[in-house]
């Protein structure tokens, strides 16, 4: 019997397990999913927790609910991948052989990478909203906070869902307005980028929104450390910004097992062919989702689109045919902009987010780079779609490769 191991049962790994189990004969292929945690988190929902819009139950479900019958599941960490021998070693020493390995270990926040971040102010006046723990702790803090300097900072690139901290800024503006203390809260958006976003048109649209909402943007700020005594963040070029509340996106990195196995770059991401999704170094290893180093957003939508491409390529690989499906880096992100509105960007390796409309049979059209109520519903609906359609690897009425339909280059 031949074996496929899917390492990581998050968004991407779960989609792949569903697609592959349906396509491959059970008496020919054994499929195993290995994950170190039993709970599946709907990470995009973390953003809404600090403001009391979602609570814990809205964003967690057991992983087992989404893994199809006929797939073996092991809940354990992995000590090491020996890709030269096509095997991996579990923490209890068990050796598992594979014919094909799919790495889907995602990206994690690493607050330990910034000096001073996890010292005495951590979870007292400094919070992250990229973990369930951080989002819930921040919720409690905000219930009692009376205002001051709110600093929203991104420690380093790349990080998951590049628009999430902007959405956080917009939602914070709405939240403080609604509870009547917006005048007492000074919101600053401090980023290592040269603007709100790097792609020019999206930056323009998002910067205008920040100005409109009285959120100050401080660009080109590359965080060196946090000074707990002075309550400031300090950049490598010596600038210091005081905070009363710091909400931060810590450095994001791939899992340590990638580093332990000598398979990653300096942020533990696995070098991957950006079109075929095959590992650059090992022919029978494929990489999907945030774990790879492909130059597109680390986002659930990317995991979903690239799953279709990887699935086609794996079928070709298994049958000894050339891998012809090519991923284009397609990403599609709803941006929550506060007060019941939202925006939408759709882009790939070569095309920056453009204005226009995004056709979606039956539901859309959504306005691209526009601030509308329909886009907000798109974001809210996405949670339902995520649990019921996306994770199960079902067909969605949206193409994996980006289309120019509805987009406008000259607008």
């Amino acid at each position: 019997m031949k074996k496929i191991i899917i390492l990581g049962g998050g968004t991407a790994g779960t989609i792949m397990a569903n697609k592959l189990r349906k396509a491959l004969e059970r008496n020919e292929w054994k499929i195993t999913v290995i994950d170190k945690h039993r709970t599946h988190y709907y990470q995009p929902g973390f953003l809404f927790i600090p403001f009391g819009i979602y609570n814990r139950q809205d964003v967690v479900k057991p992983k087992m609910d989404f893994i199809p019958a006929g797939v073996e599941v092991l809940f354990t960490d992995v000590d090491c991948i020996h890709a030269d021998n096509s095997e991996l070693v579990l923490t209890d020493g068990t050796i598992m052989k594979y014919d094909i390995l799919i790495i889907a270990t995602g990206a994690q926040t690493r607050p330990d990478q910034i000096p001073g971040l996890t010292e005495k102010l951590w979870y007292k006046k400094i919070y992250d909203f990229y973990t369930i723990e951080g989002a819930l702790a921040l919720r409690e803090f905000l219930k009692k906070w009376e205002g001051g300097n709110l600093i929203i900072n991104i420690a380093d690139m790349p990080y998951k869902c590049p628009v999430a901290p902007l959405e956080f800024a917009f939602l914070a503006d709405e939240y403080f307005t609604k509870i009547g203390i917006r005048k007492k809260v000074n919101i600053k958006y401090v980023t290592p980028l040269s603007g709100a976003f790097t792609k020019p048109r999206a930056t323009r649209m998002l910067s205008d929104l920040l100005v409109e909402k009285n959120i100050e943007i401080i660009p080109d700020f590359y965080l060196e450390r946090v000074d707990n005594d002075k309550q400031t963040i300090v950049s490598y070029d010596g600038r210091e910004i005081p905070f009363d509340l710091l909400t931060i996106v810590p450095v994001n990195m791939g899992d340590e097992v990638i580093a332990r196995s000598g398979m990653g770059d300096d942020l533990n991401y696995v070098p991957t062919d950006k079109h075929t999704l095959q590992s650059k170094n090992f022919e029978n290893v494929f990489v999907i989702g945030d774990a790879s180093d492909i130059p597109t957003s680390k986002a659930g939508s990317v995991a979903h689109f690239s799953a279709e491409i990887l699935f086609e390529n794996l079928m070709s690989y298994i049958e000894g045919r050339p891998m012809l499906a090519k991923f284009d880096g397609h990403a599609n992100c709803y941006i929550e902009t506060g007060f019941g509105k939202g925006s939408l960007i759709d882009f790939n390796y070569d095309t920056e987010p453009l204005p226009g409309t995004f056709p979606l049979p039956g539901i859309g059209p959504f306005g691209l780079l526009k601030n509308t109520k329909t886009n907000h519903y798109g974001k809210i609906m996405f949670r339902w779609i995520y649990w019921h359609i996306l994770l199960k690897g079902k067909e969605m009425p949206i193409e994996p490769l980006m289309t120019m339909a509805g987009k406008c280059k000259k607008c």
Partner: protein, 103 residues
């Protein structure tokens, strides 16, 4: 697109001054580009430029953190060598495309 002459050779550059073909680059040219940016290159600068050209040639995504781990400079040192936006400045002088770190 525009063109520029460095060290007696005319090369194609983008509107922002980044090389279109990174293979056009030589160290002599780097010294002249640096001068335009108000910098005078030391051996340390050149070592960093070679490091990032090498990373670029391998198709790796450049980050400030990676340069901090290069063993040539730490991140603070990188800022001192190429003040302001070090990754952009160094990429320009190294004759490689403008970094697009946000994806």
């Amino acid at each position: 697109m525009a063109s520029k002459t460095y060290a007696g050779k005319t090369v194609e550059v983008t509107d922002e001054g980044y090389f279109v073909n990174s293979s056009d680059w030589t160290v002599e040219m780097a010294h002249e580009i640096a001068k335009e940016e108000g910098l005078s290159l030391t051996d340390k600068h050149v070592a960093v430029l070679n490091f990032i050209r090498d990373k670029h040639a391998k198709g790796e995504v450049l980050t400030i953190r990676a340069i901090g781990k290069s063993g040539i400079v730490d991140i603070k040192g990188f800022y001192e060598l190429f003040p302001g936006s070090p990754l952009k400045l160094a990429s320009k002088i190294a004759g490689i495309p403008k970094p697009s770190s946000c994806v």
